[in-house]
Symmetry: C2
């Protein structure tokens, strides 16, 4: 009864105003699984090269993260190099080396094909649809992340996979670009007609907006004194959000709200340090502590 | 037991991607008082010229807004001309004619000098301090709005009046510029040492962050399908926020949170149409209806 996640496991070179790191663990599936596994066991489907060594595998060890679908093949792992300006709001990509990821065709292990919950990380929508088709039966829900590269360049393929999707997670620009609507309420109304009945708009330091047929919900970002590196915040959010939803096995509005808080709090740990450093170190106790603190910050009693 | 507000009453020429209006009622005290008067009687101290006619006075009639301190003198009223681009996030000032406002020296009517609550709208900090000195006794609280023009150009005068202040309302840029800190938590810690113990950071379409010694609170903006003109949103927020606080005569954290919601909801009406159109038309019933809706959108039960 795991949460199955398809995405990338990669190495990143990062530079922010607060420092730089080279060859650190990155990729959507890494952040996603480290985050989600605090709420629900996760299975990763991804590909790495021969440069992915014992130390890298060790990051996932001792956690409920099944690496049965993490294929290692000859070549180098996906490598991304990016930098952030003073306001940290947007990464500038300096280099992208797809390496083994260029020919990635996700093949689900037999045991994963009946996973009840499926997260399709930000990869080619053609591959996302192939994954959906490999499932033995339709999962209880399927969530999908994508980006402007696919929205603009592979629109038909994206529209095809969107028909199969329950939950779409994108940022504001992507929601607007996909829907052709600047206003997010109108964007949601349009996106609903494409398939997803639930839209999550990630707004970085401004929080998250959740659109569901039962109502809208908005949560700010957790306020932090220090943000060192925003890399992986979106995937960490998705992990906390979907991990929570899988743990309660419900998509009702109340649980979607709580999942939004869980995702937000998980992302707040990630950005406090470079790469997965903080996400690796955080304990369930600290997660719950921050979740209580955050809930107090956005709740108004007695209304 | 009114809320005394010092600010501007003006005429605006506005252009947004959705239309243009000329010579419509504007100014911080106009938006503030129309908003606050739904919660608490307001007294305005401001100046207008001879072009301020019966139709303009009529906007304030039939409301608990005391115009005893609205002085009319020879000359023209303050006139501002501005336009907004597609994203509506920032006004570009095209023309500013101070007119009678250039020599404005606020003189409080005798009856206003014992007002228990004082809002110092965004005017020269020298004048803001003069107003404070005219009070017969210290009000229960004093709130202040300012802008980068004064933060950068009249820092000493601003620091002098800030010492007298309980609540500072500014936007993100202003909070950073005043404190020298990019991070808002650090900005608050710095601003506390300058006088105000409560900081409200207005973040436009991203909502409001509230910093108090008892804790932080964040509220998103109320999501709207149509935003036609953001002019006056900040002053309308201040009116709802401070009007609510005056109505409950309390600055405790719980009431500050509720006041944030009241201000946010009031501002949401203002931006739905040009100028004060929507703010003039809104009823207490619609305010409470939207307040309930908004509360549902940001509340998570059962935590």
């Amino acid at each position: 009864m795991s949460l199955l996640a398809v995405g990338s496991v990669a190495f990143d070179d990062l530079e922010t105003p607060f420092g730089r790191r080279e060859n650190i663990l990155g990729g959507s599936a890494s952040y996603f699984s480290l985050s989600a596994s605090h709420f629900r066991p996760v299975e990763i489907v991804a590909v790495v090269g021969q440069d992915f060594g014992p130390d890298h595998y060790k990051v996932f060890e001792g956690r409920p993260i099944d690496l049965g679908g993490l294929v290692q093949i000859p070549g180098k792992s996906f490598h991304w190099k990016g930098e952030y300006g003073q306001d940290l709001s947007e990464a500038k990509t300096l280099e992208t080396h797809l390496n083994v990821f260029a020919d990635f065709r996700p093949v689900l292990p037999e045991t994963s094909r009946s996973a009840p919950f499926l997260f399709l990380g930000n990869i080619d929508p053609v591959l996302q649809l192939e994954v959906v088709k490999q499932m033995a039966q339709r999962p209880r829900w399927i969530a999908l992340d994508t980006m402007n590269f696919w929205i603009e360049g592979s629109r038909e393929a994206l529209l095809a996979v969107l028909k199969e999707i329950d939950i779409l997670l994108v940022n504001e620009t992507e929601a607007r670009s996909l829907s052709g609507e600047r206003n997010l309420i109108k964007a949601y109304q349009k996106i609903q007609t494409l398939g997803p009945r639930i839209l999550v708009v990630k707004r970085g330091e401004h929080g998250v907006s959740l659109f569901t047929p039962e109502g809208y919900f908005m949560a700010p970002a957790f306020p932090l004194e220090e943000v060192l590196d925003p890399t992986g915040a979106g995937d960490t959010f998705a992990g906390g959000f979907l991990g929570y939803l899988a743990s309660v096995d419900s998509l009702d509005f109340q649980n979607l709200k709580k999942a939004t808080l869980a995702g937000t709090v998980m992302a707040s740990f990630t950005v406090e340090n470079f790469g997965t450093t903080q996400l690796e170190a955080v304990t369930l106790e600290r997660i719950h502590e921050r979740l209580r603190l955050f809930t107090d910050m956005i709740q108004v009693a007695g209304n």
